[in-house]
Symmetry: C2
């Protein structure tokens, strides 16, 4: 009966994720793995001092280019304490944004795939940086984050003892968690 | 003479960076290294499906808490192809934003410290991800970026053969470049 009911529903949605589409995507990728190869892109324009602007317009996936509905424009700056004018989050705050968003989405999608409904979820993150690295004062101090901690509050349709298992779907599957915790090669080249 | 002239200027600015303040900061950190220990923070609220919202309000540095002039609010979502509604950049696009902004700012600040004036700078970035990882189809495929490439165009007060040296100040000093290219520990914990 439940099966029959589900089939008549136009959208089989859990956590706002259409799980029919999700399983359809998984099946399609299993058949044709090349469609899972994505290229994400960004363009940046320096404005002044610590102020610069990134535009996100398009990406590549399923063997073709795709445009976002509209370009996303993201300003970055430094606070006055770091010699900027505070016109946007600073670059490392964008890293925390990326991580927060990705771990959250990974929990939501993978919980949906398991049929676990999430009622609400919020998180806070904190990351430590010693600016002696960036300032070039000490070479033995890393330039970037030394450590990042994320704390997640979740209300889900699961017994309390299962909640940690659900939030660990985040670090298990999150592309940004993986990008930060693994050493990813980055090249920076001059273009004429 | 030049020295005397500079002293009468209220702001000794190169590339929009007050280099007197920059060298002042470096001297202060050398004397009292603990002031260079920063904590950056973010809060995230899940909304629905791939849509969630990060708020950046405050950070810790120079042994005290600091508030941004106003909170920065950043929405993330997935494009329809990845089962979202395209209401914001997706998390890995935020990683590229962070990297673009940080490499750019690192070039600008360190060129300023060297007295190299930059007239204009722009960049484009591309990163490869195979979504077989995120989808849990193959465990030998990384979930995150396999490789990221950044291409920088710069017009600076330097001979052409020195331009690559200037842009390499980015990867040399950028906290986000370091965070991505080094394995940084991240913990994700349930909070009651």
């Amino acid at each position: 009966m439940e099966q029959a009911t589900k089939k008549t529903e136009p959208r089989n949605s859990v956590n706002g994720v259409n799980v029919d589409d999700l399983f359809g995507t998984i099946d399609a990728v299993k058949k044709t793995p090349v469609i899972a190869k994505f290229k994400f892109r960004a363009e940046n324009q320096w404005i002044d001092g610590g102020h610069n602007r990134t535009t996100i317009k398009h990406f590549y996936g399923t063997q073709q280019d795709h445009k976002h509905k509209e370009p996303f424009v993201l300003d970055a700056d430094e606070p006055p304490l770091l010699l900027g004018r505070d016109l946007g989050p600073n670059p490392v705050e964008y890293v925390l944004t990326a991580l927060a968003a990705c771990v959250t989405t990974s929990i939501v999608y993978h919980a949906a795939a398991k049929g676990v409904a999430i009622r609400s979820m919020e998180s806070r993150l904190e990351g430590d940086i010693d600016l002696q690295g960036f300032l070039g004062i000490r070479n033995d101090v890393p330039r970037g984050f030394k450590d990042i901690r994320m704390f997640v509050k979740i209300d889900a349709d699961a017994p309390p003892e299962k909640l940690d298992e659900i939030i660990q779907l985040g670090p298990t599957y999150s592309p940004v968690f993986d990008t930060i915790t693994r050493a990813v090669p980055v090249s920076v080249k001059l273009e004429n």
